[in-house]
Structure formats: structure tokens, C-alpha cells
Symmetry: C2
Subunit: 259 residues, 2 copies
DNA sequence: CGCCAGGTTGACACTTTTCAAGCCGCGTGG
DNA sequence: CCACGCGGCTTGAAAAGTGTCAACCTGGCG
């Protein structure tokens, strides 16, 4: 209903520049309830009859070129982002310039929640391939989630899951050895790709060895060596960025049995 | 206003057992607007005239003995908790039993947000000294924050800050060396104690070397050695759990200059 | 008063890093 | 279309940092 009203408005104004711009925005605008990422993204759990209201939430998509930042640490926060397509890394940096990749984000995942607490972003989000995001103005999300309990509930879940995810990475960095870390990383990637309809057994890594290493708290040479060892042990095949998992159970054993 | 109504109700029922229990609850009940932790805790940022409504939120305090768990991984989630007094550690555990302390919580800090995402707690919260918490039923928090924008906003900030805090720990575990980790830990502790009116320069560690090590991704022997080295370098005095920081700038230099 | 958890210190082992050399493959420009 | 260059990857050898194991100390509690 709201959508129809919006369309009428743009038709009324169709003669002006402002209107042309508005039409362009309309074209860009993605109805969440038509989006194939619906079940993975912010609208998951929002009642179908309330989905229309979400169209007020997502105004614009934005394309980010490989290597460019969606946002950087220190920038003012005003929106969170849903990844439409592509791949991002998030990273934090020490005063003296060393950095740590804190996560990789793929389609349907939400970025930018680090900015809410202090109205400034705390980390960089960098596209590691050409990507597209939906921009969700935070003030609007606040308003809307006060009205839609299911949206509020799901947004809380998304933030909480980010905390849980980071707990997992802490475990990785705090107690696991190099082989366990890489096994955990590959299994996690496999599971998430699988949830998006890709093969869980073979995929292209979008990130470099250095980025994997930064995420896992290892140097790129160590990552490379562990890949080679996994290959030698018949657990996987690896050729540059292409990976084929040959023995998922073997990988799982490494990751959970402490060698 | 709501508080007065509640009191009247208890008086009406004062003859029954049920009522006696209710009176006990009333006595336990802490009005957030009388709590000296107000500015650090969930009510921070909630408008004064709305503080009364928070009394509906916090029903009960609960005492937790040193060594006991406030909640454990896998338990059903239904409340978050505000630390009234005492000290907690949070920890996650691998399948094969190794564990990682993910944080220490002191008065005014919020625990349990890991449970929202999957309706189960993801980690253990264990008191490391006799402690007391305010129980905040999550369903009530949801309802109330839909009505009080300032509460919603502040709760989001608290969750976001937890994400930011964990980003910091990731940096610690991912790129820092033992001395930097311990320096960062001590400076963080000093700052938080200072915010609570304690001396930033001398304090008692509530946790063992092993717990510090688990948090920092180090073995207890390494923690002990680094303490000894800091002492030898004139940065601090340490005697068992008592610590006196002698050279804050020196500690900061270690933590930020990568020596 | 004695026991025991918690802490310190030393010697040695092991994992991961560092430094170095060389290879591969992709994209650009001639 | 091919040659070239460079980022990204692999591998080796040596070094560094932290872990492991063990002995001993200390202080608080029963």
C-alpha cells in the first residue's frame, strides 16, 4: 500500500529534476519482500504483512568497488548496511598500524553495528570484491522497530549473533593452533556458502592468504603451509584461491579433537 | 506513579503467604533511579521522568556466590543481568574442553546478551567473587523499549559497545605480544575501576593468573613472567593479587608502540 | 598447624614467525 | 597475441616467543 502511494507521488512530480531523481531512487529501491535474501537478512522473522513497512527502511543501494571502503573507523555513524552481493572484510587497527581482520561478510549479512555505541564507526569495512549493499538509516530503523515488534526482536537477534560470532573468533584466537584455526575457518565458510545455495565442498576464496592470516591471527606463510599440509593429508585440494574440500569429517576432527 | 500502585497492591494482599513473598520482592526490588550505578548501567541515557518505568523492568536481585555460575552455555535464555556488585568472568568452551575467558564484568555492566540470538546462552558467566545482579527479563525489556525510545537507544548502544569491546579483544589476541596484552589488560582495568571511583593506580586483581592468561590467550606462567618483568622494569609493583601501577605512561608505550 | 591452591622461576621444547628465494598466473601494454 | 611485471603464493632454514614440565615458595583457610 505504502509502495503504491509512493509511486503515485513520483508520477505527480514527474516533470521536475527533483522528480527524475526520485524516480531513479524508486528504481534503485529494493522491496525487501521481493528480495531473495529475505530469509537471511534483516527482514527474516518479520511477519509477511509487515514487510511492506520495511520498504520505508531501505532507501538506496550502493555499489562498492573492490578495495574501496564502505566505511572507515572514526567516521560518523548513521546507517547500517545489508550486503546484497559481493564480499567484505572488517578490520580494526592498532595505533602503530598493525591490523586485525575481525570478520568476512557475504550476501544477507549486516555490517556497521559497531557504530551504534559511540556514533562513530570502530572498524573499516572494505569490499574484497565488487559489491553492493542496501543502506539502512539507523534512525529509521529505530523508529520502525519501536512499531514492529518482530523487527525489533530480529534486529536484537542479529546484534546478539554478532556477539556470539565474535565469541567464537575469540576462542579461535585464544586457544586453537594453526591447523585448527584454518579448519574452523574453512568449515565456517563452507557452511555459510551452503546456506546461500553454493556448493559446500568447492568454492573460490575471495580473500588473500594475508587476509585469512590476519583473521586467524597467523602470518600468510603459516596459512600457506597449513593449506599445503591439509593437501598432503588428503583433506582438500587447493590451487590458488580455488578450494575443494575432500574430507569434511577429517577437517572437523582437526577442529574439535585438539590434534 | 506505577510504583505507588504496586505498593498499594501489596498492602491489600498483606495477609496471605503470596503477599508476604511479594513484600519480600518489593524490598529486594531496586529502583533504578535510586541506584548509584545509574549512570553506568542500562538506565544511563534514559530521561529522568521515564526512570520510574524502569522499576517495572528490574524485579529481583540475585546473589551469586564466588565460583557459582549466573548462567551456563546451553541454558535457555530469558533475562539479561546488570552487575550490582562483585565480579564475573564470561567464558566459552571448545568441544574438547579448552576454554577462553571472553571478558570480565564489574558493577554496572550488562551480562547475558549472547543469549538473545538463539534463545540459549552461548557462554558461562561465573562469579569470581561473591556478587549480586539485577535480573532484567528480556521480554519486558523488549516491551518497554518499544515504548521508551531513550531506553531502546541505550540498549542498542550497550550491545554495540559489547561488539566494539570484543573487536578490541580480537586485536589483542590477533596481533599483540604478551607484554602488550598484559599492559592493555591492566590499563583497561585501571580505567574501568577509575570510572567507578576506585584508584586507577592500585587495585586488587579479582582473578587468578590462569584466568588472566585465558583472557589474554597466554599460559599462566607467561602472565607471571610478564608481571615479573614489568616489576623489574619499574612499571609496577605486584604482590599476589595486589597491583600498583608505577608508570602508566610506560605501560601505555608498551601497549601502543610495538616496542 | 598443616595443607593446598595459587604463584614464581628455571630449563628446555615446540609452534609460529622471520627472512629469503623463487614460482606462478593474471592483466597490461606494446 | 605475446612479453613483461607484479601481486600473490609456496617453500626452506633459522630465530624468536611462548608453552611445557618441574621444582619450589607462600599465604590463607580449615
Amino acid at each position: 500500500m505504502k509502495q503504491i502511494n509512493a509511486r503515485q507521488t513520483t508520477i505527480q512530480l514527474a516533470q521536475t529534476d527533483e522528480a527524475r531523481e526520485k524516480i531513479a531512487l524508486q528504481a534503485l529501491k529494493v522491496a525487501c519482500h521481493n528480495c531473495n535474501l529475505r530469509e537471511l537478512c534483516l527482514p527474516a522473522g518479520v511477519a509477511a504483512e509487515e514487510l511492506d513497512a520495511l520498504d520505508d527502511l531501505v532507501y538506496t543501494r550502493r555499489k562498492i568497488k573492490r578495495g574501496d571502503a564502505l566505511y572507515r573507523a572514526g567516521e560518523d555513524f548513521d546507517s547500517i548496511y545489508a550486503v546484497r552481493s559481493g564480499f567484505f572484510k572488517s578490520r580494526v587497527t592498532t595505533e602503530d598500524g598493525r591490523d586485525q581482520v575481525t570478520g568476512f561478510s557475504m550476501a544477507g549479512e549486516i555490517l556497521g553495528m559497531d557504530g551504534i555505541g559511540h556514533d562513530k564507526h570502530n572498524c573499516d569495512a572494505v569490499a574484497i570484491e565488487d559489491s553492493e549493499v542496501c543502506t539502512i538509516p539507523y534512525s529509521r530503523l529505530e523508529d520502525l522497530s519501536a512499531q514492529l515488534p518482530s523487527l525489533q526482536r530480529h534486529f536484537h537477534k542479529i546484534m546478539s549473533r554478532e556477539i556470539v560470532r565474535e565469541n567464537g573468533v575469540l576462542l579461535l584466537l585464544g586457544v586453537m593452533r594453526a591447523e585448527e584455526r584454518l579448519a574452523a575457518f574453512l568449515l565456517n565458510l563452507s557452511q555459510r556458502l551452503s546456506a546461500r545455495g553454493y556448493s559446500p565442498l568447492e568454492f573460490h576464496l575471495r580473500m588473500t592468504r594475508e587476509e585469512i592470516g590476519s583473521y586467524l591471527g597467523l602470518k600468510l606463510e603459516t596459512v600457506s603451509r597449513v593449506f599445503s599440509k591439509f593437501h598432503a593429508d588428503g583433506l582438500l585440494e587447493v590451487e590458488q584461491k580455488y578450494v575443494r574440500l575432500r574430507d569434511i569429517k577429517g577437517l572437523r576432527a582437526i577442529y574439535s579433537h585438539h590434534s
